[in-house]
Amino acid sequence: MSKMAPTVTIPGQLLGPTSKYKPGPGTHIHLSSLYSSLLGVVHITHPAKAPGPAKRLNKITPAPAPAELPTISVSRSGISEKREILPEVGNVILCRVVRISPRQAVVAILICGDTVLDAEWQGVIRAQDVRATEKDKVKIYESFRPGDIVRAEVISLGDQANYYLSTAKNELGVIMATSEAGSTMYPVSWKEYRDPDTGLSEARKVAKPF
């Protein structure tokens, strides 16, 4: 029997059968039924009707294809267009180095693609993921320092605490760095930044500017 999908849902609430709706963000399927995963407002988006062929009297038209089913999704904020953006494998992100240790650099992921994230997710750049060549000779102290802004790529969603990131490409690495004396430095080569006031250089893994 056809039931209208509810407007506000709690996690675990039944939304409808999979024969009637397609699952969107914020929902999951269990035994051919769609359930909500979040506390929020339900949105149903009807797909644009594909222009079908002109009706022919002697042709048997097939049942509506699955793509024609409306998509049901649940979102927290209530605005159907705003989705929680999360870093996925392969995304290029911008992050700030929080602390360094001999084997890895811990960073806070700030921007994913072009979107500024609501929350700061923690990421880790391991020493073997800093560059593509001579991976065992990497010194984290000569690649990153706390406070640097780094462009990196997500290589794994990781465990409960961290995403795993990599800067092993020419265009990945430190894009903004501050010197020991406190002024912003400009890049000189792939491994050096220079302070304009004192003239001293500092070693970093520098990202190639576009």
């Binding site: 602390r99 360094i100 240790s101 001999p102 984290i140 102290y141 320092r145 004192t198």
Partner: protein, 245 residues
């Protein structure tokens, strides 16, 4: 003498006539001074301002309380625990532990590495030290592969001394420039002992007789606490030898 090596406090202005000049060498600033661009030199520590005209260097000689690790310093540390392939070594009570890799000893391979128990003393060189990370040590010289006196210290006893005295003991000409001659004088009196001085304010003394170790330790401590000059050190050594016999 006072105007030659004036006492400076952090932030004091330095008299431009004290800054050495040289035809070819650039001016080098040692510990305790900071260059504020474009052309200001500020002391950051309290001490005597020393100018070395031969090397064209300027620095502040201070007797500070905290040891700040810097690369290629020789230090005496105590092993606190052993992890996967490192030892954690404690240098001072107020800093995080330094790490010493298991393989950073002379002739060490995965099968033949020295077994240091917790609490063992080790004489090591600082290989990496900066503000952002815990210091790292090594007991072997990376260029030659030889230990050159570094490694575990067995027996003996460790005494705490001030950082200033440690620096003076480690100088090449400790008697003339550093004004510390206690160890030489004690050796001249016939005592047989060996010492190791750590820049982190520790001296290790070892000898076959316990009395010798105690006398050497006392001599160093008194020189440090009472700030004895060379003549007073001679008198102290005479007194201690007399008490011993």
């Amino acid at each position: 003498m006072a105007t030659e090596n004036p006492l400076v406090l952090p932030g004091d202005e330095i008299d431009p006539s004290l800054i050495p000049t040289h035809k070819t060498k650039p001016l080098r600033l040692g510990p305790g001074l900071r260059h504020v661009p474009p052309n200001q030199i500020l002391p950051t520590l309290a001490g005597h301002l020393i100018a070395d005209h031969r090397k064209n260097a300027l620095y502040v000689e201070y007797n500070g309380g905290r040891y700040i690790p810097s690369p290629s310093d020789l230090v005496i540390g105590q092993v606190t625990r052993s992890a996967a392939d490192l030892y954690y070594v404690n240098l001072t009570p107020y800093t995080p532990n330094a790490s010493l890799p298991h393989l950073a000893f002379e002739g060490a391979t995965k099968k033949t590495r020295p077994q240091l128990a917790n609490g063992a003393l080790v004489y090591a060189r600082i290989s990496l030290a900066n503000r952002h990370m815990d210091p790292e040590l090594e007991c072997v010289s990376t260029s030659t592969g030889k230990s050159e006196g570094l490694g575990p210290l067995t027996g003996g006893m460790v005494f705490d001394i001030s950082l200033g005295l440690a620096r003076r003991l480690l100088m090449a000409r400790s008697r003339d420039v550093g004004k510390v001659a206690v160890l030489e004088l004690l050796g001249a009196e016939g005592l047989a002992f060996e010492t190791a001085v750590g820049r982190n304010g520790k001296v290790w003394v070892n000898s076959e007789s316990v009395k010798t170790v105690v006398v050497v330790g006392r001599a160093l401590k008194e020189t440090d606490e009472k700030e004895l000059g060379v003549e007073q050190q001679k008198k102290l050594v005479q007194k201690l030898i007399k008490e011993m016999r």
